[in-house]
């Protein structure tokens, strides 16, 4: 190919080329004629072949959104690029080009068949997202590293692999290495991987494989755990009680409270603190559990609501469908007679009116059903809203009670701390205290005011933290409720009704138009 490179002018993928290709490869004969007349939309094309075009650079393909199969073989392409928009691609042929690196394929998640035969690729890489890959052909390339083939292990669906004509093929262990490391592979280099080879290979690489698998398993487990953790956190967040099942909140109390930290270092405060911490966490846990419980209840309620709404809509839909079907039967029966039978003008007129009346009746019936549904849903939504707001109020009430207890606890702690502080101050004043009190604490016990202000500021910080947490909780739950009710109102009441009414009107209009057109056509 490189010999052509110098002599022939590389071509660019331009509109003309694409248009030509599309028309050439589009429908034939009569359909082709029609297509040409009408013009073909690039967005509708599912398969495109651009081979032997001397293309150097891929581009200008962004409009082929529904492309499933793309052939760019036998060109002089040097880089894989410009394919990001072709997300529906299943089949990609880039063989006989000058590609050096596999790249820019991350968006093509549906890709099953990738052909990179006869290029200059040295490594298999950058294909992490191609989970559906079934056939991979990288024959006649510059793959030198057998170890690199381990990369292909992550493709669970890979069954056919072509590596022929690569330097790694010369490795004596090539076949067994591939067979051992890709146990699901069925065809390697155009040949079936038989059971015997596979077993022999497996034996050969037994230990290495086991290590490898162990590593993979660990990684998978880790990932799983992480996912689980995130999921849990999501759940807690949805219940508005995240991080309340451990001592995060308590720790946060002292995070921005240097005085408090110092105060805690006063002798005998240790024990008190640990007690305080325990009780505090106990309340946190209570909130947490309560929150989760309420969350489950809310979810169940919401689920039930949607189920009922769905059922109601389904029943109503069925009613409407039946009505329409009934009319269609009538129409099938009556319309031909109306159109064909030329009778007395008066009679015709009557039949005409009769038909029109039936259409009106259909409209009435459908609208009645719709109004019924609107009423029904309105009632139900109201009831649901009431129940939900009750639930949320209940939740808030309980949670705020628990937070009050927390504040109470803080107050008690504060008082005790103050007491101890004063006692310590007295001791220090009297000089009864050992010298082992750190200097920074000593600074606090300069006089009563300093001590008091330190304790109070610590207390304030704590209270603020607790208040914040409570606010956070209640605000979030309020927002959720408002959002939910708004969505319900918008979607289920207004939007749905609007759509249905439009639909009915459209149908009736169509029926009327249809009749008028046909009827008048008879004259």
């Amino acid at each position: 190919m490189s010999r052509l490179y110098d002599t022939i002018e590389p071509s660019v993928i331009d509109d003309e080329m694409l248009q030509r290709a599309v028309v050439e490869q589009g429908p034939k004969n009569e359909a082709g004629k029609l297509a040409r007349e009408e013009g073909i939309d690039f967005a509708d094309v599912t398969s495109l072949r651009l081979d032997f075009k001397n293309i150097l650079k891929i581009g200008n393909l962004w409009s082929f959104k529904s492309l499933v199969k793309l052939q760019l073989d036998n060109n002089i392409i040097e880089r894989i690029e410009g394919l990001d928009t072709l997300v529906n691609l299943v089949w990609l042929d880039l063989s006989f080009n000058n590609i050096e690196v596999i790249e820019n394929l991350d968006n093509l998640t549906l890709l099953e068949d990738l052909t990179l035969y006869n290029n200059r690729i040295e490594r298999v890489e950058n294909m992490d997202n191609l989970t559906k890959l079934h056939v991979l052909s990288v024959g006649n390339n510059q793959l030198k590293d057998l170890e690199n083939m381990k990369y292909l292990r992550k493709f669970d669906n890979l069954r056919t692999l072509n590596l022929t004509g690569n330097p790694i093929k010369n490795d004596a262990a090539y076949e067994s290495y591939i067979a051992a490391h890709l146990p699901d592979l069925e065809y390697l280099d155009y040949r079936l991987v038989d059971q015997k080879t596979r077993e022999a290979a497996k034996e050969k690489y037994d230990i290495a494989l086991q290590e490898l698998e162990e590593g993979e398993r660990n990684a998978a487990r880790k990932k799983e755990e992480e996912i689980k953790k995130t999921e849990e956190l999501e759940l807690h967040k949805a219940a508005y009680v995240e991080h309340l099942n451990d001592s995060t909140l308590f720790d946060s109390l002292y995070a921005e409270d240097p005085e408090g930290m110092k105060l805690n270092k006063i002798p005998t405060v240790d024990e008190m603190i640990s007690n305080y911490r325990e009780e505090f966490n106990e309340i946190c846990r209570e909130i947490f559990e309560f929150g989760l419980k309420m969350h489950v209840e809310r979810q169940a309620e919401v689920k039930m609501f949607w189920e009922c709404v769905r059922e109601a809509k389904e029943t109503n839909k069925q009613l409407g469908i039946n009505k329409i079907e009934e009319f269609m039967e009538y129409r099938k029966r009556v319309l031909p007679e109306l159109l064909i039978e030329p009778g007395e003008n008066h009679e015709e007129q009557e039949a005409h009116e009769e038909y029109q009346k039936t259409i009106d009746k259909l409209w009435d019936a459908l609208m009645i059903y719709e109004m019924q549904l609107v009423d029904q849903l309105e009632d139900v939504i109201k009831e649901f809203e009431r129940a939900m707001s009750d639930m949320v109020a209940n939740f808030k009430e309980n949670v705020s009670a628990l937070f009050s207890r927390m504040r109470e606890l803080e107050n008690q702690h504060n008082e005790k701390l103050l007491e101890i502080g004063q006692m310590t101050l007295e001791k220090i004043v009297k000089g009864e205290v050992d010298d082992d009190i750190p200097d920074e604490i000593r600074d606090l016990f300069v006089d009563k005011d300093t001590l008091n202000s330190a304790v109070t500021s610590s207390h304030d910080v704590h209270l603020m933290k607790i208040d914040n947490r409570e606010d956070d909780c209640t605000t979030k739950v309020n927002t959720w409720l408002t959002n939910l009710t708004r969505t319900i109102h918008e979607q289920e009441e207004i939007e749905r009704n609007r759509q249905r009414v439009t639909e009915i009107s459209h149908l009736i209009d169509h029926l009327k138009d249809d009749f008028e057109n046909n009827y008048s056509a008879e004259f």
Binding site: A31, L34, C308, Q376, E503
Partner: protein, 906 residues
């Protein structure tokens, strides 16, 4: 009772006799005769009698009565009485049918246990006699118990020992229903004669199975034998029943096969109300009107029902049986199953004649005298004045049930009354003693019941049985008996005289065409045929009119759709329509309706087979294919062939109620395959899109769609034609099958499988031939020498000696000859080998390689031969003396020479 039995009656034990016991004594005398005739050891008899006395006393003490005299004292009187009685019963009333059987019966044919009583049995019989006596004393008014009737050999046997629990290797018999049905089917019943007395003879189950005729007691005994073996707590009941039961008159009963239908009753559970369930729309109908309508409907319904009931009553009244003069005294026997075993939750009866279960308070049963199983015998102590209502079946309750053998398995019912308890205690002590004396029921005298598979399958005597019910007739046939494989036919009639046939249900088995049942309504002439899986076209059910059995007429065919490639489940036809229902098809098609043009009536020969009907319209319905958007997913596809139109209705979207439609008019040149289709959108296509803002389809797409639709139409037509052909094929095949019915024989059915049978017979024949040949092989070694004698049949001593000598000499000679022969061959081979070796050594130098090889081969072969000969010689030498000895032994034992030679040996 045959004449021989009555002759020569020896002394009988002396017994006080009252009227009821006469027959008992009569039998007893026979026992005596049996004892006298058949036993060598008189001591045993005495011992037995002694035991019996003790037993009797034991029981007497227990029951506080004693009337037995000493047998020795009264023997003469008894003898006299016996003679007298014999005169009285000159000709006991016998059932003529039993006489028939008796003529066939040869007592010698039966095993010994049938003809003779063991000592233990005798003991028990005596004990039973005592029991009967006491019973008769206490309840003089009641009929004598059936306790020890005679069996087919005229020997007295205890009823309990006539039960022989046997589990036959046929699965249906493991269940009480199956067993009862089998017994009811297998036997023909004989009424008791007289009808108000228990029978005098109770034959063994084996005999009954052989003759297939039995009275109710024999029925029950056989059934209980099966049931006990199958693990049920079953008893033979002796009692009284109505005439209808006793003569198995079921003409007033609804056939059980017909009544089963009515069971189906559906319970539809309403799902619980959900909290946000929408309220139903307001009902604007007048409540009052609904109410009034309901009321009038109810009244009508009531009237109708009343009318029906009245009719029914009238009908019953009209066909009421005549009053029975013997009501309440007709003796009958049936089976009682007590709860507890095999998951039986409630006590119930089984009527042996019909095999049907009956409630324990069934009004058809009027009273119970006694019940027994293979372990014990209980007399009923409860009053049966009010039928069987209130009868307790707690067999441990001695106030209700008087047991005969103390080894009562049932728990004793302790009474709170102290005195009574004391009495009881005493009784128990006595019983303990009794048990120590090991008086329990002897082993059953009946041979193991056997039944060949063929007999089991034949079921009814000669394979056929007809039962009459109320407005129904049931005929049963054994499998393979009838040429068309029919096994049962249930005909229902509209009248009681069974004249006006309404419906018949036929059941078939083993038919090669897999026909299972054929129901025919004779009024409408509709026939329903059911088939089992495995037919070529997977036909499951075929409903058609007998009068119009040809193609293109009204019919329904149901198929095993899982087995069919096209998933066809049902095909309904009328002369101008065909509707097909499909299931689980990959193209989501589930319904296809075809409308044909009316056939113009042509005079002359019918041409229905030649030209297919014109298709006017094909309508196809499809299920939703979730992979395609609803607006693209065809729901109803109509090919209006007559109008050249194709219309499509798409599925409705989730949120919509109307469906998009599209209609094409076929271009004029649609059936011209060569030219491209001419397509003008405006004239040939119209559409309604539910969503008006959706993109309109392009010309090309419409064109392609039209092309596709035309192809589909072609395909649909093809499949319609294929369906028509299939129907014709099926009908043709069915006709042939019905014309000549073939029955399938399982490869495991050794009786009926001709191929297997032939093979087996061939094997047997070969075995027989082989045996014959072997017999021929055993040559008479004396024959050549005997022929030299003047009179081979009369061998003298001297001849015998001579014969044996010659015989032995001849053998010796032959043995030596043989040894010599082997020796000669050996020498010859050795000589040849040596010669060859010499020749080889001479010519070794100028020999070719091939020659050397052949020489070597020869050498090894020769060596082998020599080796074998040597072996044979050695063995011969070893065996020869043994052979000689053997002949000598045989000669001494030979039948013809034995006497002489033994004498000489001595």
């Amino acid at each position: 009772m045959t004449e021989e039995d009555k002759e020569g009656s020896p002394p009988v034990p002396k017994i006080e006799v009252n009227d009821d016991q006469r027959e008992e004594i009569d039998k007893k005398s026979e026992v005596g005769s049996q004892i006298g005739n058949n036993l060598d050891d008189d001591d045993e008899v005495k011992e037995a009698e002694g035991d019996e006395d003790e037993e009797g006393e034991g029981v007497e003490k227990g029951e506080d009565e004693g009337t037995e005299g000493e047998p020795d004292e009264l023997s003469e009187e008894a003898t006299a009485l016996k003679h007298e009685l014999q005169k009285i019963i000159v000709a006991p009333p016998m059932n003529p049918k039993i006489m028939e059987d008796d003529e066939i019966v040869d007592p010698e044919k039966y095993p010994e246990s049938y003809r003779v009583n063991t000592n233990k049995e005798k003991l028990c019989l005596l004990y039973a006699a005592s029991y009967t006596r006491q019973y008769a004393q206490m309840y003089a008014k009641r009929k004598p118990l059936l306790l020890k009737p005679i069996n087919e050999c005229g020997v007295e046997k205890l009823v309990c020992t006539t039960i022989k629990p046997t589990l036959l290797p046929y699965k249906p018999l493991y269940d009480w229903k199956g067993a009862a049905e089998f017994v009811a089917d297998y036997l023909d019943f004989v009424t008791l004669d007289p009808e108000h007395e228990p029978p005098k003879r109770l034959r063994s189950p084996t005999t009954i199975l052989e003759f297939q005729r039995a009275n109710c007691f024999e029925y029950s005994t056989l059934l209980v034998s099966f049931l006990i073996a199958a693990g049920y707590d079953a008893y033979v009941v002796s009692g009284y029943a109505t005439r209808e039961i006793c003569i198995m008159d079921e003409t007033r009963e609804v056939c059980p096969l017909l009544s089963k239908k009515r069971e189906a009753s559906k319970k539809e559970e309403r799902p619980p109300m959900k909290r946000y369930q929408v309220r139903p729309p307001k009902d604007l109908q007048s409540k009052f009107e609904i109410k009034m309508k309901k009321r009038s409907d109810e009244a009508k319904e009531k009237e109708r029902r009343k009318k029906l009931e009245e009719e029914e009553e009238k009908d019953i009244e009209a066909h009421k049986p005549l009053p029975d003069p013997l009501f309440g005294t007709r003796v009958h026997s049936w089976v009682l199953i007590l709860a507890g075993k095999r998951g039986v939750e409630e006590n119930f009866f089984i009527e042996p004649f019909t095999g049907l279960p009956k409630a324990v308070d069934d009004p058809e049963y009027l009273g119970i005298e006694s019940i027994w199983n293979n372990k014990n015998f209980w007399a009923n102590m409860q009053s049966c004045e009010d039928g069987l209502k209130g009868i307790q079946y707690d067999l441990g309750d001695i106030s209700s049930w008087e047991y005969m053998f103390p080894s009562n398995e049932k728990p004793e019912l302790k009474l709170p009354d102290d005195e009574y308890a004391a009495d009881n205690l005493e009784i128990e002590e006595e019983e303990e003693k009794d048990i120590e004396k090991h008086l329990d029921i002897p082993k059953s005298w009946v041979k193991t019941i056997t039944l060949s598979l063929r007999d089991f399958q034949t079921r009814c005597p000669s394979g056929k049985k007809t039962k009459l019910y109320k407005r129904a007739k049931l005929e049963r046939f054994a499998p393979y008996l009838m040429d068309d494989g029919i096994v049962s036919r249930l005909s229902s009639f509209s009248d009681r005289e069974l004249i006006d046939l309404e419906e018949s249900k036929e059941v078939y088995e083993h038919r090669a065409d897999k026909l299972l049942t054929r129901d025919r309504n004779h009024k409408t002439n509709w026939i329903t045929e059911n088939f089992s899986p495995g037919r070529p076209k997977h036909l499951k059910k075929h409903i058609y009119k007998a009068t119009e059995s040809g193609p293109e007429s009204e019919r329904t065919m149901i198929f095993f759709h899982h087995a069919r490639v096209n998933g066809l489940e049902r095909r309904l036809e009328t002369p101008t329509e065909m509707t097909e229902h499909f299931k689980d098809r990959e193209d989501f098609l589930f319904y296809r309706h075809v409308l044909f043009a009316q056939r113009t009536k042509t005079f002359g020969p019918a041409s229905s087979g030649t030209s297919p009907r014109t298709i006017l319209r094909i309508v196809e319905h499809y299920h939703r294919n979730e992979k395609v958007p609803a607006d693209e997913d065809i729901s109803v596809l109509t090919f209006n062939c007559a109008d050249k139109k194709i219309s499509i209705t798409y599925h409705t979207c989730d949120e919509k109620i109307s469906a998009s439609t599209r209609e094409f008019t076929k271009p004029d040149n649609w059936d011209d395959k060569t030219a491209p289709l001419i397509f003008h959108e405006a004239e040939m296509h119209s559409t309604f899109q539910v969503n008006p803002h959706d993109r309109k389809k392009k010309q090309v797409e419409l064109y392609q769609l039209l092309e596709d639709l035309l192809k589909r139409e072609e395909k649909s037509k093809e499949s319609v034609r294929a369906s028509e052909k299939e129907v014709r094929d099926i009908l043709e095949v069915r006709q042939q099958e019905d014309f000549k019915v073939n029955l399938d024989v399982s490869v495991y059915d050794v009786q009926r499988n001709d191929k297997a049978k032939k093979l087996r017979e061939e094997l047997e024949r070969r075995a027989a031939e082989e045996k014959l040949r072997q017999e021929e092989m055993e040559v008479d070694y004396l024959a050549p020498f005997l022929s030299l004698l003047d009179d081979p049949n009369n061998i003298q001593y001297s001849d015998a000696l001579k014969l044996s000598e010659e015989c032995l000499r001849d053998l010796k000679h032959r043995l030596i000859d043989k040894a010599n022969l082997i020796q000669a061959r050996f020498e010859k081979e050795t000589a040849e080998l040596q010669e060859k070796q010499q020749w080889y050594q001479r010519n070794q130098v100028q020999m070719q390689k091939d020659d050397v090889n052949s020489y070597l081969a020869y050498c090894s072969e020769a060596m082998f031969k020599i080796h074998i000969l040597q072996l044979r010689l050695d063995r011969h030498k070893e065996q020869a003396p043994a052979k000689y000895m053997e002949l000598q032994r045989r000669l001494t034992n030979d039948a013809r020479l034995r006497d002489h030679l033994k004498g000489s040996a001595l």
